[in-house]
Symmetry: C2
């Protein structure tokens, strides 16, 4: 099956031709979302072929009972699962007593889909011949409103091409849904009320256990040749579904159009007893505006986002489409206005993995949101972890740690661990490091220290305590070691002295000690509060320091490189290039033991450390390690190619950087990992953004100053991006010959370009 | 809850007093079996309290769909599960319209159970006061016949003590049973026929998928004061149960007795269409003999077993009870007459673990069966693995091995893998070594080389090929290494260069090469056949040899010991003695990562290797390694204390050896591991036997000659055991002062005692 079928286009994702084998992949690729909700690109009309139905509400999850073959102490009993919500998009189409179903009809012609990223809508058109030989032209358009984020709108138009017909159009809302991802096929929803009033339908439903209250609603209007015909529906109710049945006759070549408005009100935003009222108010706003006006508003809202977040690439349409696809989905997934939400690895496009928060947020997403949004968005993401600190301490206690040591979960929705492979849950502890790094990174980029005395320092203390307790002294090595971990490279489990983990552990302690001093000096009230609460003492800090100062780092004199872990050099070091290609991806071909003892690296591991802490290593050191580890890296994690792209660019290996860029930016569009039908890789999309801004653009912040080392792949004529740096907007445009900077703001800005100081004045173009 | 309630007795397991909290534990401890079938000591009459109902037929299993949280390539889709069979023991007792139920009755007095190991029966007696104030005396006796191994018999006697009563006695057979251990609560049995003929009842049922055909049957006779009263039952049938309802009145102090005969006929022994006929024939034999004669036969059959297998211990009743309990259960579990059967770790006493065959069989059980049975029994256990060779090759192929390399499953019933924790299934590969070692050990003990050219060499070649491919050359170490394994110590996973694994891998290759030469020389026809089939070549053997000759063994110069694995010395080496006792057993208190990075050893690992290959190490070397590793060993596996007992005895540390002996022999009786309710640890019972014969008795076979180095714990006056050595029986009796040897056989035997040659003539006593 060829899944490389998306047509290159600067602003749209386009598919031509109907292939049932592609339906699930397209349902993922054409997903839409508005931060508050999202949905896979399921068809509105009935479809009996293979499909993965999914509609999701931000922050609504279900604690599914854990499924496991062999239980280990410390596993979570329950974990938060991304929850399929009642569907409001359905519109059944019946023509002369035959149901429209693309899977069983006689013929589909001229089928096309468009996900218009510029304006934020999804459309579909096709000509269909039913088994009764009726020919219909169908045109649909759908979007989830950014402005009214509880509502979505659908325009569904049917034109009979070879006969006058009797039409039955049945929009419905349906709470009789199940999860694709469910451990025990439990029911997840309690349906409490189905109400119909004035052509509006409401289903109130609550999640079991978590008790999230939701109201799913709809209202429709019917038109023939754009004239509202005031058609009244017949209402049908079952236990979990409300249908409005509209019946009419139309002539050949006349167009029947239905506008359907639907969506959710939830108790995150409203009193749980007023969800129907809230839904009525939302519907009233939506129908008053009407489909056309809502769509116009949608275009304007997206224009505003693009104005700040867009990256243009000239001369390479696939690269352009790729980066916009990434930026588009990031903005569909997370708007950053709510500190209780986070960025799920599949966003609103699938259910795999459960939970919404991984170390992806801190390691990959925060730089994107810091640079393309108000800095409050990144601060909200940090606050999210602060709010989970107590749970992280409980989690560490379950694993035998004490005295306020915090281990953040590998995967979470509410602060509790969601994962239960021991080698991940209990051992992939480096996640704690990324959470500390994000605090450092936020302050480095924004200059906003206030988060640290207010919240961040407590997080840092919990994390430093964890590392102090987790390391143990090896008399054999006369150093502190960290045994039994899984590094970012999940293709090695339970290894000793993973360099990345040891490095970030030491860094966390050092940074926490330094930060404690800084808070003590500059924010003594906060310091008193925090030290009273955490009961840190000089003695304890001295013990931390001893561990940090004496941390062990595996190193090979012979290879002149740090070792990814103690045993790396004993492996059979056959490079990926020399590996039989029929064996790839190895995670689909090999048993786990074989993967583990192979030298193949799933994603940047030691190189991830050299990316985070690049100032601590010379370019020559980076080059040596890149040359050693890149040849063993299979990039079977979505999070891998972006880091390698950035480092290849830094090493002036632009062809390689470009290849990695394509891989990260078109990972889903070209389905590199053969899994796009399960949903998109949302968090790695932020890595794509980094590979342009940090990789090609060479953007860094050092000593409160932006610096750039612009480079450009041979394949491109030029590219440009914008960043928000401390409330001023800098546009950077790079061509093969020069780089231009434009500043929107109110004061002069000094930056460094290729190491040279450059001053930019507001609204002045500077060319370097 | 105190589970140390079994009353010491030389020949019986005794319990006094009724405690519902003890019911499940006693159901395990008082289990009975006859090699063909077995059952937990469930009550015959209805019991509404917590109970674990289990009745098992040898070789009847079910391929349950695998349950797993996170799938890994290579996991088995299905695996063989020990299967609860239809029950034939039930006898409901109703007195004056009230059901006898020990859980809900008013009072139970003078409750006692006896498992008479000498004679092979289980009895129970108690006085019960029902809620209607009726007082009854109940006496029951039950056994599974060794002579007629399809049948069991129950004598159930009821005496009303304070009134004349109306009695309803309902023996039944019931196929409406479920498994305690089931992954998906699937139904496992199809019931095809329920038949009643001449007071005999038959339920024919087949296992789903595996399609084992069984017939469960019963017949009963009723007596008052030992007079057969010819009572005729009313018959009741449901979809899965046949009941015979006997109604009568009896006077106060009269005794009503029912003899119930029941059991199974199975298509392993009969044509599947003739199971009812076979059952009739069996029932006819059983009822003709009658309960008393069957019981007499049972005593004689057990007397014959004990005559050969008994170990006596004088002056220590708990030690005596322990060893007999072990020998008794081993003989109940496996008689050795059928090469398709094996020794499940829980025998017929529970369902945990699934599968029936572990490396326990080769490492622990074969020595016991070789010495206490005809050598055919051990040969059958070896043949079992030969018959699974093709499946072991397929299993290895799934994991990426080729060219006939064989990896035997960790757990199996039919040759297919039954386990799915990656760190066990894919990595605990040392099991392959034990299978090769058993071939060596069988020949060493019996002198019967014939198995090797006939079957064993093919097994050895498959295993040698596996080790050759599994090792890889480390340029770093300039040696072959074996990465990513779990050794016998399952508290370390995915370690590199587990000494035991590397050692046995090298040994397997060396032994196979040596054996190939021997077969080539002495059995050229077999050699031609085998080399034609396996296509071994000089080139291939040379490659194997290179691996064996250059195998890496981790060693510490400083500690002067081999290391259990590469990273062992980096651990925090706090001994078990210094570990907070509230943290034990660590497998119930600690998360898995904490266990893995601790130095605690679940069971003999490196010391297991020094046990197998003791001739390769000096006593001083053993002592050094014992002193190094014993202090870290927590013995949380049932297979551990026996090996440490043997080695402590060898090192003349008799107090320690005695402590380990008690731990291994009374593991279940005193419930060291807090899990006896799940069933008994059958395979480790053979280790208990070894700890006396090899540990205290110091028995070895070297150069076709038996040798002994008898020692005796201070706590004992004397002990004796018998071994069958090459068709002659040697009785060894050890006291504090001397050792006596008696030979039953037909030719003189030269043995070594404490290194000195001793000659024994048949039927002569030799005292040393």
């Amino acid at each position: 099956m060829n899944l490389d079928y998306i047509i290159p286009n600067n602003w749209s994702i386009l598919e031509e031709g109907f292939d049932p084998d592609q339906v699930k992949a397209s349902e993922s690729l054409f997903s839409i979302g508005n931060g508050a909700m999202g949905q896979r690109a399921n068809f509105e009309e009935h479809y009996s072929g293979p499909t993965f139905q999914g509609s999701y509400i931000a922050g609504v999850y279900y604690p599914d009972k854990t499924r496991v073959g062999w239980w280990k102490n410390g596993y979570p009993e329950y974990f938060a699962k991304v929850l399929n919500a009642p569907s409001w998009i359905g519109i059944d189409i019946n023509v002369n007593n035959e149901q429209l179903d693309l899977f069983t009809c006689k013929k589909v012609e001229n089928f096309g889909r468009e996900l218009n990223m510029k304006e934020g809508w999804l459309s579909r058109r096709f000509k269909v011949t039913l088994k009764n030989n009726l020919e219909l032209q169908i045109e649909t358009k759908r979007f989830l409103s950014l402005g009214l984020d509880e509502v979505g709108a659908i325009e569904y138009a049917v034109t009979p091409l070879n006969s006058n017909v009797d039409l039955v159009i049945t929009p419905y809302i349906d709470a009789g849904i199940t999860n694709e991802d469910s451990n025990w096929d439990d029911a997840f929803w309690n349906i409490s009320n189905l109400t119909v009033e004035n052509n509006q339908a409401f289903i109130e439903a609550q999640t079991m256990k978590t008790n999230f209250h939701t109201c799913t609603f709809m209202q429709s209007e019917c038109f023939i040749n754009n004239q509202n015909i005031g058609l009244q529906p017949q209402v049908e109710k079952t236990d979990n579904k409300i249908s409005f049945i509209y019946k009419t006759s139309i002539n050949q070549n006349e167009t029947f159009t239905i506008h359907k408005f639907g969506g959710y009100t939830v108790d995150r935003d409203h009193n749980k007893n007023e969800l129907v009222e809230a839904a009525k108010s939302t519907l009233s706003k939506a129908t008053t505006a009407g489909f056309a006006q809502l769509l116009e508003n949608q275009k304007q809202a997206w224009a505003k986002i693009w104005d700040m977040a867009d990256i243009t690439i000239e001369g390479d349409v696939k690269a352009q489409q790729g980066i916009r696809f990434n930026i588009f989905h990031l903005n569909q997934t997370y708007s950053g206005t709510d500190a209780t939400l986070n960025i799920g690895p599949k966003g609103f496009t699938g259910e795999k993995y459960g939970g919404s928060t991984y170390w992806d947020t801190e390691a990959y997403c925060i730089p994107f949101y810091m640079a393309t949004k108000d800095q409050e968005v990144a601060r909200n993401l940090l606050t999210y972890r602060y709010k989970h600190l107590e749970k992280a301490i409980e989690n560490a206690e379950k694993l035998g740690f004490k005295n306020g040591a915090a281990l953040y979960p590998m995967v979470t929705m509410n602060g509790e661990e969601c994962h239960n492979e021991w080698e991940i849950t209990f051992e992939e502890i480096h996640r704690n490091g990324a959470i500390a790094f994000a605090i450092f990174n936020y302050y480095r980029y924004t200059g906003d220290f206030s988060y640290i005395p207010e919240m961040g320092l407590e997080v840092l203390i919990g994390i430093a305590r964890f590392w102090h307790q987790r390391a143990n002294f090896s008399t054999n090595k006369n150093k502190y070691v960290i045994l039994g971990v899984t590094g970012p490279n999940e293709y090695e489990n339970n290894v000793n002295n993973n360099w990345y983990t040891n490095y970030i552990a030491k860094w966390c302690i050092d940074y926490t000690l330094e930060t404690i001093e800084k808070v003590k000096e500059g924010h003594s009230n906060d310091f008193e509060r925090i030290s009273g609460k955490t009961k840190i003492s000089h003695e304890e800090l001295a013990l931390w320091k001893k561990v940090a100062d004496n941390m062990y780092f595996p190193y090979s004199e012979e290879e002149n490189v740090y070792l990814q872990q103690d045993g790396f050099l004993d492996k059979e070091l056959i490079t990926v290039a020399d590996l039989d290609q029929s064996q790839r991806p190895i995670n689909q071909k090999w048993s786990w033991d074989r993967i583990l003892r192979s030298p193949y690296i799933k994603q940047a591991d030691l190189l991830q450390g050299m990316y985070f802490f690049e100032d601590k290593f010379t370019t020559e050191e980076l080059e040596r390690h890149f040359d050693f580890y890149e040849p063993f890296t299979v990039h079977e994690s979505s999070l891998s190619p972006c880091v390698h792209s950035i480092q290849a660019a830094k090493l002036d290996r632009m062809d390689q950087a470009y290849t990695f860029y394509l891989r990260t930016s078109r990972l889903d569009l070209d389905d590199y990992n053969h899994e796009v039908h399960e949903g998109l890789h949302i968090t790695s999309m932020a890595g794509t953004w980094m590979s342009i801004v940090e990789g090609f653009g060479g953007m860094r912040v050092k000593n409160d100053t932006l610096s750039f080392e612009p480079k450009i792949p041979n394949q491109w004529e030029g590219y440009s991006f914008k960043v928000n740096f401390r409330h001023q907007i800098i546009t950077v445009s790079v061509s093969q010959n020069e780089t231009q900077f434009i500043l929107e703001g109110d004061k002069d800005l000094t930056i460094y370009v290729d190491g040279k100081e450059v001053s930019i004045s507001p609204n002045n173009r500077v060319t370097v």
